[in-house]
Amino acid sequence: MDYLVSILVATIAAGTPLVFAALGELVTEKSGVLNLGVEGMMLVGAIAAFAATAATGSPWTGVLAGMLAGAATALIFAVLTLTLMANQVAAGLALSLFGVGLSAFVGKSYESVSLDPSAPLTIPILSDIPLLGPVLFSQQPLVYVSWAAFAGIAWFMYRSRPGLVLRAVGEAPKSAHAIGYSVITIRYLATLFGGAMAGIGGAFLSVFYTPLWVENMTAGRGWIALALVVFATWRPARVMIGAYLFGGVTVAQFFAQGEGAAIPSQFLSMLPYLATIVVLVIISRNLNTIRLNAPVSLGKPFHPEVA
């Protein structure tokens, strides 16, 4: 029982960076922008958060710094693709490569720094529920924030008017433009939001999860988050399920190693990446699943003068 609880607690913690990054990317993609720079934005967010926490001693200042840094890098992408009409795939790759380089450069002097681990926030009464209590209600505070973000995004996307406009911009930018919405402004906001969320995801990794700075510490989580959005067929609830599934896969390898499984550790470490491929294949196999769910204008530039 205690063993199961510790696995589940670790699963949720491991899934949380993916929750932030994938929910953010979901919002960005719903507006019709494909930002492949999630990995870079997470890394920049991670190092900014780590540096700010190391300087101030306050992890929340760190989270704020990570959020702003993620949004700032997303702004570079937005200027290139939305104002200068650059190819979104190329600009996204550029952002990922840039983020790797920038974070490694800034992070060099933080490699031997360690932060004090933050204690989880245990919610009274709720955490006394058997099994679910300790799993769900004795987590890092940022985990609760991720649930609030999920609820907020799900409500915004499907129950609010601005959310409807955002989806319209992603599905039919010309129509949205014709009835007076600024497609470019809305896409800017969605892209910045995605960057901020990726930055928080990175901050969670470097400030709460490890808490260390290691070069390239996201280890592909940004790319996995991109795959999760496809896996989730662009629906927030499925993003959550997917993120925790991947959290489970990540954690399973640690527990298997701890149990002294006979498999070499490298093969266990491959699991999340192989799982990503398997999941993508399963969901993409039926062409209609993607066609019916992907935002129609995803990745296509929009220029109001040409429209």
Binding site: L36, G40, I76, V79, L80, T83, L84, M85, A86, N87, V89, A90, A91, L93, A94, L95, L97, F98, G99, V100, G101, L102, A104, F105, G107, K108, E215, A219, G220, W223, I224, L226, A227, V230, P264, Q266, F267, S269, M270, Y273, L274, T276, I277, L280, V281, S284, R285, L287, I290, H303, E305, V306
Partner: protein
Amino acid sequence: MRLKLEARPEPSHAMKYVSPLIAAVLTFVAGFVLFSALGRNPWNAFHAFFVQPVDDLNGVAELLLKASPLVLCAVGLAVGFRASVWNIGAEGQLTAGAIAAGWLALAFPETESVLLLPAMIVAGALGGMAWAAIPAFLRTRFNANEILTSLMLVYVAVLLLSYLVHGPLKDPQGFNFPQSKEFHEAALFPYLIDGTRLNASVFVAAAVVAVGWWFMMRSFGGYTMRVAGLAGSAARYAGFSATRTVWLGMLAGGATAGLAGVGEVAGPIGQLLPSVSPGYGFAAIIVAFVGRLHPGGIVLAGLLMSLLYLGGESAQMTLDLPSAITGLFQGMLLFFLLGADVFINYRVRIVQPMRGATAPAGV
């Protein structure tokens, strides 16, 4: 008064070639600003980063040595990119090629046959192709996005190499370091210039550039791929197979990345290590774009990118800056290129709003 982007009636041909130059110049300028901001004398730093690494014969040899894997990977990637086949897993394919070639070298430790090195070259190319075949198959058979699958396989390849050098291929006399035995003479590219590390693998790169040029610019196969990239529906209408396009694009990138892997392990490294590339496969994406997906441009871009690697090492030694600064410059170079590319399809117009009236709409 404000500035406005206005679509050109036709894409500017000249800007296509000017914009990489603008990007390179802007990268130099940004470097200048960055060095000043870091409290270094910008002229000295600039000299240390961009001039000092290549001011002697050894430096030029190193420039060519590092440019080879970048150019190799980028030429193969360009074949795919032209057809909108986004293989971004060249780093993994390079690693797979290095594993295949390295395994062959270690399997024949006694031989002095001159055939060993050619066999390793073939094995490396096949290894890279096999690794690239996985995303190609998943894309053509299951419609799975090749960007994500090829990237995931980078991590898998690197972990596989790590397993091999920690386990089956570990040097028993290596004091338990995660590395293979050093390759013997017959498994290494011969040196070209005494006193430098430049070896015959540059000829492999040169040959690939020539073949790549012929395929992309002169062959019918290359033409069908270009059409597929520019206008997918036109290609379908003309009966060019989309499946074939994906396979060709992926396998070309896999083969050349595999060759780059051979060049590393049978060249400057000379054995299998946990890491056989400082990110050449990723940097090659930038090389391919900055080189305008053209073999000639890729050679120039490869040399520039190689200089950034050397500059990073030099910055670490003489300026006390982390060599990771290279990655920063690489990213900036591509950002500037993408930004400058706007002028291929658009031009800047100065719009003067008339008082009391709205400006007339652009025609």
